[in-house]
Structures are given as C-alpha cells and as structure tokens.
C-alpha cells in the first residue's frame, strides 16, 4: 500500500542517476534540496523583516528625526528621511506578516519538515516529491507578490498583520488598495504551498516509516512536525477562505466585513483567530520538537517522560482550536464567551508547563555538552518560560482589559516567537547544518552570535513588559503625542539601541553560515554523536538517502544507556539480542 506513493525513480537505488544542474538544484524533487531552498528563501525574508523592524525602532526611539539612510526612500515613504505615519503602518504590517508567514513558518515547517522527516523516519524521500517541489515553487511567487506591494501606488498594506476589517476591507479608510490586495493574494498563494507541504508530511510519516520505526519510537521533532502538519492542513484553508472574502470586499463590492452594508467586522476577527491561534502553535510546536532532540543530545540523557511529551504536543494541538477568543476579549464579543475562552486558555498553559519541566528533567543529572545548538536550545527553554508566564497575565480577561493592545503583548509575542521559535531555529540550523552541507559551522562564531543575540534580545524585549504596564499602546507611530507616555520615552530609546545591536549581531550568523559552506571543517556521518537515523548516512546524504533502508531497533533518545560503553546508542545500531523488526507498518521497501 505504501509503495505506490513513492515514485519509481526513487525506489531502490541511492546512487544518483545523472541529473542536469537545473533538475538537481533548481527544480529538484529531492526533499533535501527543497529543504535547503526553503532555508535560503526564508533567511532572506528574516533579514528583510529585521530591517523593517529596525526602521520602526528608529521612529519609536527617535521620533521625527531623519533616519540614517532615510534619504534613499521616496517621498511617499520618508520625505527628508523622516518616516511617514502611513509608511510606518505598512512597516508594522509587513514586519509581522513577513516574520510569521515568510520567515518563521517556512523555517520551521518548510525547511525542517522537508529536510528531517524522510531522514529521521528512514524514508528515501517524501511520499509525493513532485508536490513537494510545487510547494516551494508556489511559495516563490507568493514572496514576490508580497514584496511587490511596497512598490505600488497607495503603498503597502497598513492594517496590521491581523488585517482587521473594515480598515482592511475598504481603501477609503487607508488609501491603500493594490497593496492590501497583493497582501491577500500572496497569503492565499503561500497558503496553498503550506497545504501541499502538510499533505506530504502527513502521508510520509504515516506510510514511509522504516521497519521498526513505530509511532512511539519517533523523535519528538517528527511528532511535533506531524501534529503541526495536521494543524496547517486544517487552519490554513480558513485563512485562505477569509482572505478571499476580504479580497472580494476590496475588489468586487461584496460586504462580508463591512458594517455599513450589513456586513460583520467581527466575523473577520473570528475567522482570522480561528486560524490564528492554531497558527501560533504551528509556530512553536516544531520548535519544541527540535529543542527536545537537541536537549537530549546535549544532556546525553533520554528525554524525560517521552510519552508525556508526545501527549503534551497532541493536547496542545487539540486545545489550540478552542482558545481563539482570547484575542478578542475586548472586541465587544459576548462577555460570557470571554470567560469561556479564558478558561480554555488557562488549560492550555498546563501542557506548556509540563514540557518545560520535562526539559529540565532531561537536563537534571545529565552530562551537558554546550555545543552551539545546545546553547540555543537552553535559551529557548529560558525564554519560552518568560513568554508563557506573560501569557498568563493576558489570559486573565480582566487584567487583559488593561494590557490588551499594549507593548505587553509585543513583549509576549517576541518572547515566544523570537526567544522561543527563532532560538530553536538557530539551534536546529546549527545542529543539522553539518548534515545538510557536509561541513561544520565555526563554533567560535556560533558562540559569539549566540551570546550577542541572547543578551541584546533580552535588553530589547524585556523592558517592553514595563512599557505595557505603563499603558503604552502598540502600533503607534509617535508615542510622544501622549503626555502619559513621555516618561517612558527613555525606555523606548534604550530598546531601539538594543534592537540595532541585536540586528547587527546577526552578521556573525551570516558569516558562520557562509564560511562554513566554503571552508568549514568536513563533517563526519555523526558529528554530534546522536541517535537519529539521519546520522547513519553520509553528510550530505545521497539522493535516496540510504543505500539500504535502515532498520530501527529502539527509541530515539537512548543516551548513556547501560547497555553500551559510549554514551549514545543510535536507533539504527543492532546489538546482540536485538531482533530484526517486522517490515509491517514501515515503508514498503523494508
């Protein structure tokens, strides 16, 4: 049954038949190449998103002073180098949009879903390699359309990444027309890319596991990507549908979200957050998975409570569907509903807490190696704790009255998405880079990058909590307009300077990434002495991944097992007394 999903060109032989350069590196169907394509794609957007943030921080720290380099921008954006408020709104909108949809999400799901799933479950490739190629090549035009919005008349979308209607529905309110429409089209298109990817990941995990790779021997990274793919498959179509409705409001005169003609603005918020809350778990679950793998490796210990960790992922994935109203406590939604959503939101804090304690349990009595990926993974835990705790403040609908739409939220999202997801991504990139490129990244540059990022991240974002407690609204162009915000202006300035250093520090990552490629030390098969199947094939693995399908004898985290001398015992290593796994349930070739 499973074999039919693998196209013939992939089955059987690992040695690559001669493919043209274009087929091998551009229109490739190899999951590893597609993963690397997504990596380069999303790192570019990460950089662009960071630059947009730097510009916003200039305006907030130094309101109405000409921005260095601001003269390069046209009159419609920054006359005399001073950002215009409408351009600032586009920056806010596009920073959020690019980071969520074009940087973090493709980094987690597009890059590592692609790269890791086949390699970690012992499959030669994805179940549908051509769909996989399509998913990348659909993302590219979506990215181009999104960037194109900056160059159209009326400017880019400026209604926030949440695009609340009717601000986003009618150009009358913003003067933005083509920009908002490109924004919607681009999201609908990249949504298609995500859906194709998710279909592929789910099918692959279900059907193509190597003999012996039972569900409860899957690494947590794969469990997380699997559950995430289900969330993607169910959540993205809701966004796409809502985006198309809003597009019709913008273009052909429907009034889904426009109250003046009988539409309902809150419908947009319900649709957006019904997608949006699962989306934030899409943005964190894979990160949690990578971190589990890396912490076990770094601590040289099995993951503490593997089964509980799996159930925590599953229950977060499930509960994530019933909490969306916590984004709408102050929206005018029925107040009783506010209480219901508060309770469900508090429940979701429990599996999050369990995960944190189990990571700590994993490190407890370990023999911790602080390689660069481990530094990032530990930082992930430390930062995710702060993001989770700030979530508790906002989950109280009553206290949320005060902090909703303030910098407290901005602090929260950055602790979970930068402190959380992005640190996990740096951990994952530095951990799997040797497998991807066959070279090691410089540990020295990696450590410099880590420490600068860690320190300046906290200096930039921790003070935002206190801005929020001071009542500082988010998404405002010029805080000095308000008397009560003027005493907070020194904090704004401090944050801005920290952000500039934080962004500049990323140069060390770029250098390490590029230098590793050209003259990094050659990586062996298993440089981190890890247990996963991906470490049983050369770095980088050949087309088809293995000469012979690996067999799996045990779970993924047998570190420091008393059965062997060394402190790791790979899934693929056969000990005397291990019996050969049955082929059933695994991939068809086994």
């Amino acid at each position: 049954m499973a074999t039919s999903a693998v196209p013939l060109e992939h089955s059987g032989h690992a040695e690559a038949h001669e493919l043209s350069f274009i087929r091998k590196y551009i229109f490739s169907t190899d999951h590893k190449i597609i993963g690397i394509q997504f990596l380069l794609f999303s790192l570019v957007f990460l950089l662009v998103g960071g630059i947009l943030a730097t510009m916003m921080r200039w305006q907030l720290g130094f309101p109405n002073e000409p921005m260095p380099g601001g003269g390069l921008f046209p009159e419609t954006m920054a006359p005399g180098g001073i950002l215009l408020p409408e351009f600032y709104n586009s920056l806010v909108t596009m920073h959020g949009t690019l980071m969520v949809f074009f940087a973090i999400m493709p980094l987690l799901v597009g890059v590592f879903g692609n790269y890791l799933i086949p390699l970690k479950i012992g499959a030669p490739d994805m179940a549908f390699p051509r769909l996989n190629m399509a998913s990348f090549w659909i993302a590219v035009p979506a990215g181009l359309l999104m960037v194109a919005g900056f160059f159209v008349e009326g400017g880019h979308a400026g209604a926030g990444w949440t695009a609340y209607a009717p601000l986003s529905a009618d150009p009358e309110w913003t003067g933005v027309h083509a920009g908002q429409q490109l924004w919607l089209l681009s999201l609908a298109i990249i949504g298609l890319s995500s859906i194709l990817g998710a279909t592929n990941y789910i099918t692959t995990v279900v059907n193509l596991r190597a003999p012996g790779m039972t569900w409860f021997r899957l690494p947590l990274s794969i469990w997380a990507l699997f559950i995430t793919s289900i969330l993607v498959l169910l959540a993205i179509p809701i966004l796409s549908g809502a985006a198309i409705m809003l597009y019709f409001d913008q273009t052909i005169g429907t009034h889904f979200f426009d109250a003046t003609d009988g539409g309902q603005p809150l419908l947009w918020q319900h649709l957006f957050w019904y997608f949006g809350h699962p989306e934030v778990y899409i943005l964190i679950l894979p990160a949690m998975g990578f971190v589990s793998d890396i912490i076990a490796n770094g601590s040289r210990k099995p993951v503490f409570g593997y089964d509980t960790m799996v159930w925590a992922i599953v229950s977060i994935g499930f509960l994530g569907w019933v909490v969306w109203g916590h984004h709408m406590f102050q929206s005018g939604m029925n107040p009783t509903l506010g209480t219901v959503f508060m309770i469900s939101t508090f429940f979701i804090a429990v599996p999050s807490a369990i995960k944190v304690f189990n990571w700590m349990g994993t490190m407890w009595r370990g023999n911790i190696r602080f390689h660069v990926p481990m530094l990032h993974a530990v930082a992930f835990v430390a930062m995710f704790v702060i993001g989770g705790l700030s979530g508790v403040f906002m989950a109280s609908n009553t206290f949320d009255i005060y902090i909703h739409d303030t910098y407290f939220i901005v602090a929260h999202i950055h602790y979970v998405l930068f402190g959380g997801s992005l640190f996990a991504i740096f951990g994952a990139i530095t951990f799997w880079y040797p497998k991807m490129f066959g070279k090691m990244m410089s540990p020295l540059l990696g450590k410099i990058h880590f420490w600068l990022t860690f320190v300046f991240f906290n200096l930039a974002f921790f003070p935002m909590h206190s801005l929020g407690i001071g009542g500082h609204m988010r998404r405002i162009y010029d805080p000095t307009q308000y008397e009560f915000l003027q005493p907070l202006q020194p904090i704004n300035k401090f944050i801005s300077i920290s952000v500039f250093i934080l962004v500049a520090s990323q140069i060390f990552f770029a250098i390490a990434f590029i230098m590793g490629w050209f003259n990094g030390e050659k990586a062996g098969e298993n440089p981190w002495e890890d247990n996963g199947l991906e470490w049983s094939t050369p770095s980088p693995p050949p087309h088809g991944n293995w000469e012979k399908t690996p067999h799996v004898y045990r779970g993924p985290y047998e570190f420091s097992s008393p059965l062997v001398e060394e402190d790791y015992l790979p899934q693929f290593k056969k000990l005397d007394g291990d019996s050969e796994p049955a082929a059933a349930g695994g991939n068809g070739r086994g």
């Binding site: 400026g158 009717p166 601000l167 309110w173 429940f347 370990g366 508790v392 609908n397 420091s560």
Partner: protein, 224 residues
C-alpha cells in the same frame, strides 16, 4: 523599568490591579524557581570527562506533581478573574442611574455628546464636544459608543478601561471615577494613518464643579 501600575482612579481599578499583583507574585516565583533551576542545572551538570549521565526515562509521580500545581494555580486565577470580569464587562454590569453620554469615534477623533443640565440625552440642551469628555467624580457614567468608519478602541489607562468600538455593533462602556483631574483618552486599536494621534482629554470634576461647568456650556456654547 517598573512593574508598578500607574495610579488607578476608577471603582474597579483596585480589583483589576490586585489580580495583576497576584499574577505578578505567582509568576515571579515560578520565574525565579524555573530560571534559577535551569541555571543551576547548566552549571552543576556540565560535562566532565569520565562521567556518564544518569540513565532515566522519566518519573510519573514527578510529572503528575508538576502538572497539578500549574493546573490548580491557573484555575484559581481564572475563577477570580471571571468574577471581576462579570462585574466590569458583564451584560448587566452597568449600574442603575448611570449618567449617560453618546460617543462617536471616527478617523481620527472622538465626539462626546454630553447631556445638558437636565441630565438626559436626546433633549435640546445636549451638546457635543470634540476630543473632550467631562464627567463628575463618584458618579457611574455610561458611554453609548459607536464607530463611524473602522474599529477604534476607547482606552483610558488611569481608569483601567479599554473597549473596542466596532462599526455596526457599538459598545456600552461604564466606569465610575474616584478622583478628579485631567486624564488622557487614547485610541488603542490601529485605525489608520492618524491612529497615533487619536487622543482626547477626560476631565473629572467634583459634583459642584461639574454642575457649574454644565451651566456654562449649555445650551448654545457648543464646540461644534
């Protein structure tokens, strides 16, 4: 950097603030324990040659404990919040005999219709002010708010009041101020180019002052 809330001047501000300080203390303790534990682990269990990690797969009892503690804590915060929430935002929370105002929000200004000396809206002595709201102290006040164009949010940090005003849906907002003075009203929902300057002033008078002020405004001295 401060964790102290600015002065609160409404009847429910103290309730909201108390929840905040409780959550601050609880999360503060969790923060110190968890981050401290983490730091302690990375120092204590750093790799040393010749040592092997302790081989253990988990411990159900420990896991039950550390699931139960957060569960109980959040249920406590949740129930407490629910009660206060109902007092502030519940459907029947607006106090009897509140003094009514009409509020109209539009890009990028606020219009406040004050009932004149007669204290009733919809009569000839009503008058409207742009970006200015005057209320008496120690008197429940209810704002019947509508939005002309896009969503705006009525935010008075000192009162701990925030409420989105959705076009077509409107909002009913009430509060009772407990001290006099001038406080800023902000728009807290991104509403377009001028969102950042959609600012208004709230003036809270003593009862006597308010009557005098009303008399000086109505019926013809309207701002618009």
């Amino acid at each position: 950097m401060s964790w102290i809330l600015p002065e609160g001047i409404s009847t429910f501000a103290a309730d909201i603030d108390l929840i905040y300080y409780w959550i601050l203390v609880i999360t503060g303790i969790v923060f110190v324990v968890v981050e401290g534990g983490l730091l302690w682990f990375v120092i204590k269990y750093r790799a040393r040659p010749g040592r092997k990690a302790y081989y253990i797969q988990g411990n159900t009892k420990a896991e039950i404990i550390w699931s139960a503690i957060p569960a109980v804590t959040v249920v406590f915060i949740g129930l407490w919040s629910a009660i206060i929430w109902d007092d502030i935002k519940g459907r029947d929370s607006v106090p009897e005999g509140s003094l009514a105002y009409d509020v109209r929000a539009e890009q990028f200004e606020w219009h406040f219709t004050h009932a004149g000396v007669d204290g009733t809206l919809g009569t000839a002595d009503d008058f409207q002010l742009r970006n200015q709201l005057h209320v008496p102290v120690n008197q429940p006040v209810v704002l019947n708010a509508t939005a002309e164009d896009v969503i705006h949010a009525f935010f008075v940090p000192a009162l701990r009041v925030k409420q989105d005003i959705v076009p077509g849906l409107g909002a009913v907002i009430w509060f009772e101020a407990t001290s006099t003075g001038e406080y800023e009203i902000a728009c807290a929902e991104l509403c377009g180019m001028g969102h950042y300057r959609m600012r208004a002033m709230l003036t809270i008078h003593t009862q006597e002052e308010y009557s005098q002020w009303l008399a000086s405004q109505s019926p013809v001295a309207t701002a618009e």
